[in-house]
Symmetry: C2
């Protein structure tokens, strides 16, 4: 088993790779007034940091009730954060209005070829470091990470079986793989908040459809087991979504048969208090939909 610990990536998740790739390309193509996105998650911090490193401005729309730590972290990278009411206001409309008014370029968290390509460098480095793999396990949310990784694997290691993993409560990509078309699901409760999406992306889906071999689902309990394993045995932090691919392996859901398995740990942005609640069971209550 070879792990790619993207929790140790800048801003604590693989998201920086895609954001940086997109922002750098925009700036090189003729600097826009800046970039923007609506996010309270890892994409917000990644885009803020990428903009700072590329010398442009980032504006992040974030719900008023986002954790103060997320807002502070995003602002600490120099971004401008604008709050909105996620129950009364439409984020897409707000974002489009903001972009038009200020001449900002919207960087989507996953449904953008440059973001997908940037995310794919995760697999590029893993294959360079680890050599050939029989199986590559990748967490799936919107699908940007696995689309990029599957593209890299198809080119450099075509015999590698690329397997996605998502929470059982949000099985949109697994169902889409079974039916062969983009399926929309109602998203249930899960601790894996980075993967709570109702459907694969418009642009990520065709890549997943063509290049991903299989998508499995895991329970919150299996994710907690993987987070605990990483903490106690490898001494590294993973957020719930970040541990989901490993969860499938530890649960025996992946027929590895002694082969070489690569696992992407996609991120580690979880507060210590939330980790404590999750590990002690308080954070996992009622989430096994």
């Amino acid at each position: 088993m070879v792990l790619k610990a993207e929790g140790l990536q800048r801003a604590g998740a693989f998201k920086f790779r895609g954001a940086y790739n997109a922002v750098r390309a925009l700036v090189e193509a003729g600097s826009p007034a800046g970039v923007c996105a609506a996010s309270s998650g890892n994409h917000a911090q990644a885009l803020a940091l990428a903009a700072r490193l590329c010398g442009t401005h980032a504006v992040i729309l974030m719900p008023h009730d986002a954790p103060p730590s997320k807002r502070a972290a995003t602002e600490s990278y120099g971004a401008e954060v604008i709050g909105f009411d996620r129950y009364c206001e439409d984020r897409e409309q707000l974002q489009a209005g903001l972009a038009a008014e200020r001449g900002l370029h919207v960087v989507h968290p996953y449904d953008d070829p440059l973001v997908m390509a940037g995310a794919g460098t995760t697999a590029l480095e893993l294959l360079q470091d680890a050599g050939d793999l029989d199986v590559l396990l990748v967490p799936v949310g919107g699908g940007g990470l696995i689309a990029g990784c599957a593209t890299v694997a198809a080119s450099l290691a075509p015999s590698t079986r690329v397997v996605g993993v998502e929470p059982r409560a949000s099985p949109d990509v697994a169902r889409s793989k079974l039916s062969g078309r983009r399926e929309r699901v109602s998203v249930g409760r899960t601790i894996a908040d980075g993967q709570q999406l109702p459907a694969p992306g418009e642009r990520t889906w065709p890549v997943i459809d063509a290049l991903v071999d299989e998508v499995l689902t895991v329970s919150d309990e299996q994710i907690v087991t993987a987070m605990t394993f990483l903490f106690e045995r490898l001494k590294v932090v993973a957020e719930p979504s970040g541990a989901s691919a490993l969860a499938a392996l530890l649960a025996g859901a992946v027929p590895a048969r002694g082969g070489r398995v690569g696992v992407v740990l996609s991120g580690a942005n979880v507060d210590a208090a939330r980790f404590a609640a999750i590990v002690s069971g308080a954070g996992a209550r009622g989430t096994h939909d």
Copy 2:
């Protein structure tokens, strides 16, 4: 700030360095029947692993009430674990009897020049990686780690100020530094179980006396703050003792004045459940002596 993350060391703590150095020297000098120690902590696992790597046998005396995970981890490295009743039986006597009967060599967890020298490679690597440091902060328990590190610093970077840090509940080395002789204290409750020792070692003390500039103390609350910082910002695990030196720096107890500060994170062997209890306050109750 440059951190040396010994939690990522083999067996999860700096202890492996000293144990390996001692066991290898013993085996090279003519193989003993094996090595032994009384420990339920990091030294047990370190010695077990060192013995396996050097092709000899390790016997560990461990209290019957030691956490099952510690016993299992020690056995997983191939050691023989013998339980004893720490309330009725004398561990020194048991250990001496066992060593005599079986021809085993006792490897002390810190009060041994080979163990101290091995532990000192922590500072050797840190100085090689980071270059000159103005201050080097090192957790202090029995004193083996800081004795080794101070010896290395005195030789390679004599202008580096070497500062030890121990829990406020167990200030034996800090008091000894103030009085200039080995002081014995009654050890209070603290979450930093790796540093609950009543007096500096007989062999570590003269080195600490000569080469360590100062020893500071930190509260359990300050240690929890450091553990949380490491978890949330650097995404790495530290056990309470392992975070103690960083705790002093974050608390502003070290006059760093913009200089280059090296900090040893000495270990990361803490169960997720215990980390959860500590972070949520349950594990720190009544420990601020």
